[in-house]
Symmetry: C2
Subunit: 351 residues, 2 copies
């Protein structure tokens, strides 16, 4: 659920979902989040949860961190009935979910995401895991949280750029499955970007709902769930081509959606006016960063995508507004044209 | 399935279960097993599988080994369609299953157990994982193999003591669920212990079937599956009290079943004649090692069992022959009497 004042009332909310709290409750968090919110968060618990800390940053999203944390859980007396709360951004959520997935072959956990991207995307869907030196998210489990509590209040301190990047996942949600969300985000961009609580809650709740529904129908990514990767094939290629240094994930997805829309228009699955409307919506929540890249490099990088099986390149393309389809027959020439179109915009950044 | 000649005909057997073999097939094994059986195993594969090696011994059943192996899989081009074959004893099966559980959030795997204990017990049921310095099997996943191929031929070189210890799990299977297996093992002990292929196949197939049926009804150990722990509460306590150095796992379970039978008789859930018959069966597949332990130490060690939740001690007790129940109200005095009875036998080893 999304709302205000969730963090300070967490314990009774969790008990409404899982029943009486167990003897051991763990909170995985990061020191900065704990410094800001730890006191507030603990006040609704009769017995203070055991706090576990993950160093901030992608480079700590490793099996070595996981082992250290699992050992702390064992030493603190965690058993199969224990509960873990992942309290932080996307990395805390991914690692926390993975700890819960593999500690004693699986314990229950709750997501309390504190960044917009974690709230609208990574906290929902049960994808958990860590990186290997060979690639991101190569290790993990599907393990669903018992509940997600997205507190709008935690977004007050979120940098503007992260807010806008996170909202790209909400734009994606609208394009994929929710025409009403597209209309709302078109009409209320000013309120949403000003973090007006009711506007933000409306957008976040709709984004979570869309993802939860898709995931519910396809828990282990067999088919339908693939549509959630709209904008991600080119998006991941952009992240890789810029060594994960230039773009926030949501920004890469924003540019990736522009390329996907171009492909969809040239194949006739969206009309020109739908194309223009959705492209305008993406830029409404921009600006997306300027990129100086060669199209060939981006096209080459799409070949290494983790979602490719047996060498086939998969794309999610919008079908009108509110639907999408997975296609496997995009030719290199088609893809290159779409990437060129997107890079032409990105090199000047109209937004 | 259990049978002879499975290892040299593995590839077509696997294809009958999972369809065409994928581009990358991994085999996790140990150097000694590979030296004995690697050539034989590879002959049915058109493209040789990528062999991954785990050092033998419980001390290599760690997250560090897991990380090293996952990286090798990534470097070798493993993708979500890849297949892993766990080819070896129980440790290879546990680690192999865990690799398959967490590589790219889960790939398919096949168990090809080469020890009796792995064939009748650990390869069935989907329990996978590794140890932490804080305790055995504290980390893992439930991840079911697509198939188990138990080749009787691999048991030809198994030491006599491991054969007898492994058969304790078959005795357990009979006591729990299969009166016909109890009768067969009573009547054909000589053939089974002489490794007569048909006798061994009969016993192994029945053991696998029993476990698979129980697990199928309770995949994540919510209720029924608990009965598989017959003999394990006291058995684990004996292993711990002897620092895992004196007893093979099956031997500890054998002594644990003697204690469980004593408890069951004193509570009236087995008659005196059932008690004597089942105790005789256990010793028929002995000898179980001599133990010099104080009862109080063993009773204390049962308190630390991983299966205890919220401090409650759980016991599985036979109900007649072919059924069992979980009880939570065994008093320390009752338990101590049962352990004393068992230790009196164990100190002289009648078997």
């Amino acid at each position: 659920m999304a709302g205000s004042g969730l963090i300070e009332t967490l314990a009774p909310r969790i008990e409404r979902v899982v029943g009486k709290l167990p003897r051991r409750v763990f909170v995985l968090t990061s020191a900065p989040i704990w410094a800001l919110w730890g006191h507030c968060m603990q006040q609704s618990f009769r017995d203070a949860p055991v706090a576990l800390f993950l160093e901030p940053g992608e480079r700590h999203k490793t099996l070595a961190s996981v082992e250290k944390l699992l050992r702390q859980m064992a030493v603190a007396g965690g058993d199969r009935g224990s509960l873990l709360i992942a309290f932080g951004g996307g990395i805390v959520g991914d690692v926390g979910g993975f700890l819960a997935a593999i500690y004693m072959r699986g314990i229950r956990y709750i997501q309390v995401p504190t960044t917009l991207l974690a709230q609208v995307d990574s906290s929902v869907g049960g994808k958990t895991g860590v990186n290997l030196p060979e690639g991101k998210n190569l290790v993990g489990s599907f393990h669903h949280p018992r509940a997600v509590f997205a507190d709008i209040g935690a977004l007050g301190t979120l940098p503007e750029r992260e807010l806008r990047a996170g909202l790209m996942e909400s734009v994606k949600a609208g394009i994929l499955r929710d025409r009403a969300l597209v209309r709302y985000m078109e009409a209320h961009a000013a309120e949403v970007l000003a973090r007006e609580p009711r506007a933000l809650e409306r957008v976040i709740a709709a984004s979570i709902r869309m993802k939860a529904e898709v995931v519910h129908k396809d828990e282990r990514e067999g088919g339908l769930r693939m549509i959630l990767n709209l904008g991600h094939t080119v998006g991941h290629a952009l992240e890789q081509a810029t060594s994960y240094k230039t773009l926030l994930h949501g920004e890469a997805v924003g540019w990736g959606m522009v390329a996907a829309l171009y492909l969809a228009r040239s194949r006739g699955s969206v009309t020109s006016s739908q194309f223009e409307r959705l492209e305008r919506l993406i830029h409404l929540y921009g600006p997306l960063p300027v990129l100086k890249l060669r199209a060939a490099k981006v096209v080459a990088a799409t070949g290494a995508d983790k979602k490719n099986v047996g060498g086939v390149r998969r794309f999610v393309l919008p079908v009108g507004i509110g639907d999408a389809a997975v296609v496997e027959d995009v030719t290199p020439a088609e893809l290159e044209a779409a990437v060129r179109y997107m890079l032409a915009q990105a090199s000047e950044s109209k937004s």
